[in-house]
Amino acid sequence: MDFPVWDIDVGYGPLMAWVAVVHVFVAHFAVGGGLSLVVLERRARRSGDLALLAHVRRLSAFFAPTTLVVGALTGVGIWFVIGLLSPTATGVLIRTFVWGWAIEWTFFLVEILAAILYAKGWDRLAPRTHEALGWVYFVAAWASLAVINGIVTFMLTPGAWLETGALVDGFFNPTYLPSLVMRTAICLLLAGLFGALIAARTPDAKDRARLVRTDAVVALVGLAAAWAAQRWYGAAVPAELAATIGARLTIPARALEAFHALSLALGAALVVVALVPRTGRTAVAAVLLALGLGWFGAFEWWREGARKPYVLANVVYGNGIGVAEVATLARDGALPAIRVPTGDPGRDLFLHQCRACHTLSGYNPVLAAFAGTDATFVEGVLGGLHKMRAPMPPFAGTAAERATLAAWLAARADRTPLAARARRDGRDLGALVYEVRCGVCHVEGGFGDKGRSFEGLSADDAKDLLASVSFDEMPLFSGTDEERDALVAHLLARAEGGAR
């Protein structure tokens, strides 16, 4: 809690995702494209294939500015964004891996200069020297990927580092190798996709077909290898994290479905282009590239989403609070630990405990979730955050601070009773009350369902149960009498098998 919190109505997640996905898309092309350039150049020179050589030259003219301007600067952009959104986690990563980043920087320097000289050197350098520069570029670019891969995978699977604190354990963590294989395959895929885009502009139809087919085959190989490596990657994610995907985490589950669906679509499209290369025109190549972007984005979304509720698994929660800090903050209070306060305790607690994932009423809003409820309910929810269906960090503060945050949130939420807001009554109202007051922890027919607890109870018994069940992680029912009656009707109907 050393830092202020940037409070805008934009979600941190989407902001990070946009910068990161664009960066990784171009950065992986920067690696695979480098390999593609130098291999194709060698092949063209050996076979005296002038059309292929001209294609490689056109590709290199596109390659250097794209990777240097967009790739390098979105990479710098990631630094700028993560420092704003997750300064604590960024600090932990930098202190742990600074020499990794410094080593990566040395590769980066070589890579940048080699890319510039390669692109400019077609008319100046002897073919052998030119190709050598291409190889230097590719080796430096891949080495850079191999280093960053260690840091990125650490965030999901720190592995034995959690016990030893040894740099090597953190770097060569359980997902390091599958991720490296997968990302190398992705480099190949993107080299093929970008290559097809350039090849599609080849003037001669015969040459165009030949070049497009080559790039489509390269992309297919990359796609197949990446898909297989993702299965390996998924299997290397620790069971405790993997188990939450689907049951508690819907985003990574959907992202994985999208990844598989897009794998299929992209694969099918590439097969068609490889078999019927005259279809490989610029528009088709652009669509393939867009599919590739979506495919890559789905993979990254799965990887990022699988970490919840952490930003660094088992080390720092998504809200920037260290796992090891929670007990201290619960004992001594969060407010005294906030180094740069706004002066409004409720707001400070919201910013430091919730804002990383939620806004008040914009992206992923909390006020909408609390509309029609009350401070008692909000306080109860805050007490059981870590028990919710969607994994959340626990509230890290004292009971008094929890009450302060609850009152602050409740005062801003719409207090119109649910019956009046939704214009429902009877069991319809009960279903809504369940959704608002119970559903975040007890999904009907799913996670944490307690419906069977009401089997055989009378309405009065059920009301007594609602009035008596309360502990730190479960709020006492605090709705209106009408809401309680409707909820009881709904619960009893469900318990009797009355599915709606």
């Binding site: 202020p4 420092g83 742990t96 580092w161």
Partner: protein, 349 residues
């Protein structure tokens, strides 16, 4: 999920603060040299007094080097930013968050500048459109310079960013006392332009108009940098106490020594002139470092953090750095030894 309770300590610095400061300052100087070449190159080109100023071989040579200078500026800027975050993360992130919107615009502005420079260097041979593209790049780069100056000046004033944050957490603000950071930005930008003009003049060695433009830009920029540097001592009441006696001497020398380049360049003594400009840069960076430590004294110091050195990883970094230097030297050697083939035997040519 079962969080591990006895987690490794992540608060320790991975090297002694002196080593981190040394690496920070060394890489920062390299970054500034590249940035100077970039800014000075652009301004010199814009200052050439000739109708065909963007169509001459010498100016095209400078123009072609601008994207390279931009790439070098970005690449060499990564390391000092890394070491700065490591040593001063607590105050640097806090200031960046307080000025989040302008801060996050920096990569976008840099991308705009980069793209403009590429477009300028690939402009038609008659130079049409180059002036506008260079103008866009200049605007974007100056904006980056202003955001940097504001943010890093704010990082030295936790009292100010705390007060600013209490007023608004939206991130739409710069340093609230422009008289303290604007002269600093002007000094840094002008000094960079001066050094860059000197370098551009060397690149355009065979063009009298370009050399004249370089000299004029160098002289004007040095005067502006000197005035801004001295004005800072008068305007910013915190600067002299923060610098201390040694720092004030370094600061004044950093302002005065580069002025020696004016007569030296006029006499054609480029080597000593370059040395004066280089010495001025190093002195200014050292003074800047002392000013930061002095301003933050009692509030924050990198040396307050515990240290747990990772010597093995550091040694690997040194090895990689040496390998990179050797590789870069080899690549440049191959480049400068090669000449364009008189009759293109290379089918790609």
């Amino acid at each position: 999920m079962s969080p591990v309770l006895a987690l490794p300590d992540t608060s320790a610095l991975p090297a002694p603060p002196w080593l981190l400061a040394t690496l920070h300052l060394l890489t920062f100087v390299l970054h500034l040299v590249a940035m100077a070449g970039l800014l000075g190159g652009i301004v010199t080109l814009l200052a050439v007094r000739a109708p065909d100023r963007f169509a001459r071989p010498a100016t095209r040579r400078v123009l072609g080097l601008l994207p390279v200078a931009m790439a070098a500026t970005v690449s060499l800027g990564v390391a000092p930013l890394l070491f700065l975050q490591l040593s001063y993360g607590r105050v640097a992130y806090a200031a960046a968050i307080t000025s989040a919107v302008p801060w996050i615009l920096v990569p976008l502005l840099a991308m705009l500048a980069y793209a403009s420079l590429y477009a300028a260097s690939h402009a038609p041979a008659d130079g049409r459109g180059v002036g506008v593209r260079l103008g866009v790049a200049t605007g974007a780069l100056v904006a980056v310079g202003l955001v940097y100056a504001s943010t890093f000046a704010l990082a030295e004033r936790p009292d100010l960013y705390a007060a600013q944050y209490a007023r608004t957490a939206s991130g739409w603000t710069l340093h609230p006392e422009p008289l303290t950071w604007l002269p600093r930005a002007v000094q840094a930008l002008a000094a960079a332009v001066a050094l860059g003009a000197f370098l551009a003049r060397r690149v355009a060695y065979d063009d009298a108009d370009a050399r004249d433009a370089g000299r004029r830009v160098l002289e004007a920029a040095l005067v502006v940098a000197a005035l801004a540097g001295l004005a800072r001592l008068a305007i910013d009441g915190r600067l002299i106490p923060a610098l201390g006696a040694v720092g004030v001497v370094l600061h004044v020398l950093g302002v005065v020594v580069p002025l020696a380049a004016v007569p030296l360049v006029r006499r054609g003594a480029d080597l000593p002139a370059g040395a004066a400009l280089g010495a001025g840069l190093v002195l200014a960076v050292l003074a800047r470092h002392l000013a930061r430590l002095g301003t933050l004294e009692g509030v924050f110091a990198p040396s307050d953090a515990p240290v747990r050195p990772q010597w093995g990883a550091f040694a690997l970094f040194v090895v990689c750095l040496l390998a990179a230097v050797v590789t870069i030297a080899a690549m440049l050697r191959a480049w400068f030894r090669a000449t364009p083939p008189p009759n293109a035997t290379d089918p790609a040519a």
